[in-house]
Assembly symmetry: D4
Homo-oligomer: 248 residues x 8
């Protein structure tokens, strides 16, 4: 259901005299979100994109999380919780008994109905320590209905490792590349493929990596065209962006 459509419907009711001006004005501002007090759930966003709601867990109180979970259970809407600790997962599960937990991705997935089908997404991780961020991206893309293929530990220190994977990588409609330290892999990959490369800097590294800043700057300055960047460790953002690109 589109915002325009509901607005049009509202205006027509007004024209037909079914409602008066005051109630029209009140309802006009009532776009489809649910007010849970200090939390507001945006059902229209997930409706618009056809992807379930994504809830970032850290900083939310137990009380807020339970309210959200209850609303999801009631709407039977697909939803994904990110950065979920084991404890938070157990809490959410009391409300959503079918919630699936992917520990390495720190994701809680809740699929009441299968997502619409989307295209192919390749998720590449430079080092084995970048796996959690890559898994987060892969999990979100799968949640959105993409077919995901994973290629891990193929960093630029042994660039030949990348080459025998190229034919498979090139089949993807969107490519996510997670890398920490010097963050060079997205630039190399983008020079070898024709799809867009969504680069995720990770906080893997130490010293002058400054918590992922080195990788972030590296990716923003990628000399290969076709590289776009999301926040440090933002696997969710990368997976979502890839899903939007892989939508036909």
């Amino acid at each position: 259901m589109e915002i325009e459509n509901s607005l049009r419907h509202l205006l027509e009711s007004l024209r037909k005299g079914e409602i008066d001006v005051d109630s029209a004005m009140e309802r006009m501002s009532m776009l489809p979100y649910e007010d849970l007090g200090d939390v507001k759930l945006d059902w229209h966003r997930s409706l618009r994109r056809g992807i379930g709601e994504i809830i970032y867990t850290p900083g939310k109180s137990d009380d807020q999380l339970v309210k959200i979970a209850r609303s999801i259970a009631e709407h039977r809407s697909n939803a994904i919780f990110s950065r979920v600790s084991k404890e938070k997962y157990e809490l959410l599960k009391t409300v959503l008994p079918d919630l699936e937990y992917r520990e390495d991705a720190r994701l809680g997935l809740c699929c009441f109905e299968p997502p619409r089908e989307r295209g192919n997404v390749a998720v590449i991780a430079a080092g084995s320590s970048d796996k959690p961020v890559a898994e987060e991206a892969a999990g979100v893309a799968e949640f959105a209905g993409c077919h995901v293929e994973r290629f891990y530990d193929v960093g630029v220190a042994g660039i030949h490792r990348l080459f025998n994977l190229l034919p498979k990588i090139r089949k993807a409609d969107a490519i996510v590349v997670a890398a920490g330290m010097e963050g060079a892999l997205p630039s190399v990959v983008a020079g070898l493929v024709s799809s867009i490369v969504i680069a995720v800097p990770t906080s893997v590294g130490y010293g002058a990596s400054f918590g992922g800043l080195a990788a972030l700057l590296s990716m923003l300055n990628a000399c290969s065209g076709g590289v776009v960047v999301v926040n440090i460790d933002n696997g969710v953002g990368a997976g979502l962006a890839a899903s939007l690109v892989a939508t036909k």
Copy 2:
């Protein structure tokens, strides 16, 4: 022509005894780029993506630019020069007489044949000072064969200006949003559309904008999903990324 194909062809020549091992090894490394001495042109990259070569002009000497222009003239390959000053444009025009100059975008375009057709790209600029970067993105997307629609001066200070443009913006396959100062527009736009938003921070601003850093950080931290970011003032990168997304 794909790298794999030419490699396969080479290996078959070897198997058939048409060439020997030493020349096979030599030719294997001869992938399709042209060595102009201290400049090397990557024809295969443009072949692979079906977009002409994009040449970043600053830092290249007159001599290097003329060499590149001559090679383009010879191959009759579509090409686009970015950040071209009026003086550099005059220089390039002596070799490429049909080079088109877009002064506000600082682009020189050279199209020997029409590009393959691609989808719709919306280019939004927050303020009137962001226009040059937005035009750069628009120019590259048009060069790549996209249909581009421009929406300028619709910053968040008057967010209502955005709303009557939404129906048109929502038709785009990819949306480029250029913004300086606080860089909030991509986050707002992404909350209202279902396509991917490619955010370009611009260096518009002063003081604590730190040459576009404030806008860059803002965009990387966009609370709306579906926002990806390119380098400060990188209209070319945004336009190219949008073109890759809008490719069907």
Copy 3:
């Protein structure tokens, strides 16, 4: 009691010969603060503004806190303790038995007499994780005698959530907006209201939010006029500034 008045009084005593020059000089420097050794309480500041003393708790030793609490109990002056842990609250309560604790705001309030009445303050929080900072601002404004209305989880990712709240928000004499991540909300709000917007960046976020720096820079570069900024997570400062503005 104004500094000028007490000074005038002092000088008149001198002129009348009631005191001599040396004691005049000594008393001239005795402005109304109380010296508790390594802590000095500024009663004249709270007198001047008509708002009780605000005590920032972290970094103060138990001994210093008890000294301060005892002095407050003795003067029966309104006071507010900020960033109070549960433990520190218990300690302070032994001296100030009526101390009220607001756990989500981390505030300890002590009101011996009702504050003077002030105007309306709206406190807006972009996300549910920004609630503690917003509550801190709201608590201080209420302590100062303002009427406070809260609007939480109305971030720019779903900007429509803001619109149906606008009529209420516009009634405020001063508006506090707390936001982390990209910190775009103050700029959007300021474009829609006519009161001053006091922006509080929060440290909510990760990666390139750099502990609230992204939101801070965003707010300082707000393209809408009428936005002023306080330190990251400084709910107290925002609440106090709003109270000073809402004073008629």
Copy 4:
């Protein structure tokens, strides 16, 4: 004229059948701004606050500036141009012959009718080099209808210079303090007054002042309550904020 009012009027026309749904939807999005192509003027913002439009000049082309000036001339709306060079002023004057130029403030003022009357604003500058920023703030506050009093070169290196000015400063409804280098003055002033202090860091200084960053950080960390901060060198923002506070 308020947005709500015009919206209500529109809805009533629809209910009365004076317009149909499609034209209602089209007009609903037509809030009162003027589309000059790549520039859009927001008359409703100045209407709402009762302060004329403020136009930031740098980055706008001559063509854009002339378009804006013509629209102002046509609407006979009060307007102020900031950071205006002598050359730009001459250009604008060809369209707006009564445009007043304040060279030290780099402001161009255009007042077709006197502004509504507002309260008292004190503008304090720490050093003589901070004068241009202070004058910018003072000019905007005067443009908005405030009574402005200036106090220049009263930095903390000779803090006694401040004390004999205190009685006058304390009469202000809002106090703007511009300071570069270590930016300590707002903190000192705020400790001595009861109004809000709007601190403007200036880029005055060298070396580790990092273009005003030192002063900015200093002001954000002001230990005195009641200090709010705007961007480096943002005299316009400070003057506007002071005017909003001084509105009764």
Copy 5:
């Protein structure tokens, strides 16, 4: 004993034939420090300045600390340990039974003989949370033989608190000022005294104080002449510098 003197002595022994060239060369490089393996103690430094050795404790292993303590016990040299935890103090005390512990300054003092007498040092702390750093400076200055007077909680938010202390502060030969947050106090103090002001930024604060960076930059940009700065939280360095200045 000066290096020159021992060198001269060595050369004279050589000239007199008491030692040969090879042993002269070997002994020439034996300047008065003691090699404890991976730790080397510089007795000549303390000899030169007449101040005992100062040992920075963090990062040193128990084994290294015991070695150092034993050497001190053997030489019966005055020594001061900084940033000493309670645990490390207990360890050192097993070797140096007379070691005095100042818990708030985190110092361990060991005085086998009274230090040479030096001048007056004033130690000022802006806030009560700056006390540990101020006590560190005061402790080192006392260890070096200075007469120290302390002035705590006299920050710029209540600048009048400073004025009645000025006559006493002006008697000091060197003034240490410790301040966190905006770090404005050294600038204000230096404008009122004629001695050198040694400014110590402290890490007291939060948000945009960036661990003391705001105070550090503020102090480096002090608009008052006569301010010099040491590292963040470096009470030892400030106390030592003050002692060198107060040496007659």
Copy 6:
């Protein structure tokens, strides 16, 4: 003439009935500075320290500079202008015909009477490019009455160059060390002397020197005790601090 004395004098006049309370209050705030409109000269500061007024020239308009020069000429007070361009010098000379210009130090000196005599100051420059900053420090110290000895181009790359200068350097009461690039020299010098070392980072260098930041951080982290730091390129501050230390 001390502030206290004049205050005492004022109070005594009041007590004797020579003046009334109102004029006492007015005169109390009239501390000895001269109000030139937007510039205020602090004669009492130079009186207190016995060093003439130091005027930082950049950012001051011609009009402001002439006002200051005239006041100096009138008071016949010693004064020093820093960062004076050749053009500004010519301007000032029209008012102060005896103004001496030191081009390499960018100083204008004006001595109506010889300064009081002070001690020895050593000024060391690491590289030949650090000379202008070193000369600025030397000039100010000489202006203050110190005996200055210069030691230039003795950087740590050839540390032996330092050793044969040590006997002379050790005679100084205060040592100024100017160094750019890695800024290591103050740490090395302080390990070899017993006086305080006032370190001045210079902006000499390129790339990761970040305009003197590398040297600044290096000096703040000096592992040798007895090093204090001033702002980047702040020769004036270093010279003044050295003069205060060298005052007996």
Copy 7:
């Protein structure tokens, strides 16, 4: 075994008809690394340099570490684990019983056969707290077959400590210098030797050392030629670089 050789061998098999084109293409991309799923071991890198594989332990799961250890045990290849906690060491030891643990260097060494012999490496540490990083460098260099000599606690605060060690230091083919705080030692050492100096900034320090940034910048700006730099605390990188230089 070189990559070229195996490639040549592969091509010859193809020419001789021993393999067909498809399997040639498949095998061409099979360069000598071992795919352990989400971890890939690069045996060819260690083959090429003649140094065993170096495995950075942090961020790798127990499962990944055991997989790597098993593969090492199977290939009987020399290997070194860096940043190994006591717990991880115990885990690895269950698979590699001969694994040697160097606790201060946090290294686990596994030598199935003695390394090829290389030249002399000097490892210098400025302070006793820099020892762990220095030991890491020394351990890697020894693992690679170098003869290593250690020189600890010879910082610039007592530069004379360095001089009697110079004759020994000058014998090294490559010199590693680890230093925190101001990081000046590499510059001083490089001015006195003729070999290359590999500088390792350490995170030793506090306040404005910013986790080793001060030392890093200092080393990058070293005024002595012949200094190269590795990441903060990167003892492994320094040891490996020294080994490559010391290879004859």
Copy 8:
């Protein structure tokens, strides 16, 4: 001539009674450098390394440069001037008529006698804009006696360009890699060779390259072992380091 030898000679003269103690002490400090007033030339450094003196030109006055050139002419010592503008070259040439100018490298070379022969150095530049820095490195290495091979415009965007150059690159004893923007090339190269890689970040780029900072951080975090880094744009340092490594 070594420092030890001359020292030994000096001591023997003393022992033999040929000189007395005082003159021994004086001469001991006279190590072989030449004092030209505010410039001191270090002949012993070039003697020790067998490479002529390298003079960094910027920041040196004409007078200083002429002094240096005259001293070089007199000693007939090989020397190289870096960052030489055309104007400075003309100046130097008046004293050194045989000075060779390499305009693209901004070097002035002066070779009175051929340098000692050293090994092979490969100089790789990622983009054509990195050529000036690469040429600076190449020029210094040639000046030092190395055989230099250049490989330009082989950035990671077209990583295949690198592969056919690998056999030649692998022959080098030391490899210099200059790269701007994301600075990924050194990491890729180091993964494919066995020599040390000396990485030079260049300031080529814009926006978030922050003047070479992105490339610098990228190189410091290189995931391939064997990469060491010099300052941004420091071609001289890279060339010198490569020469020291290539010395047999």
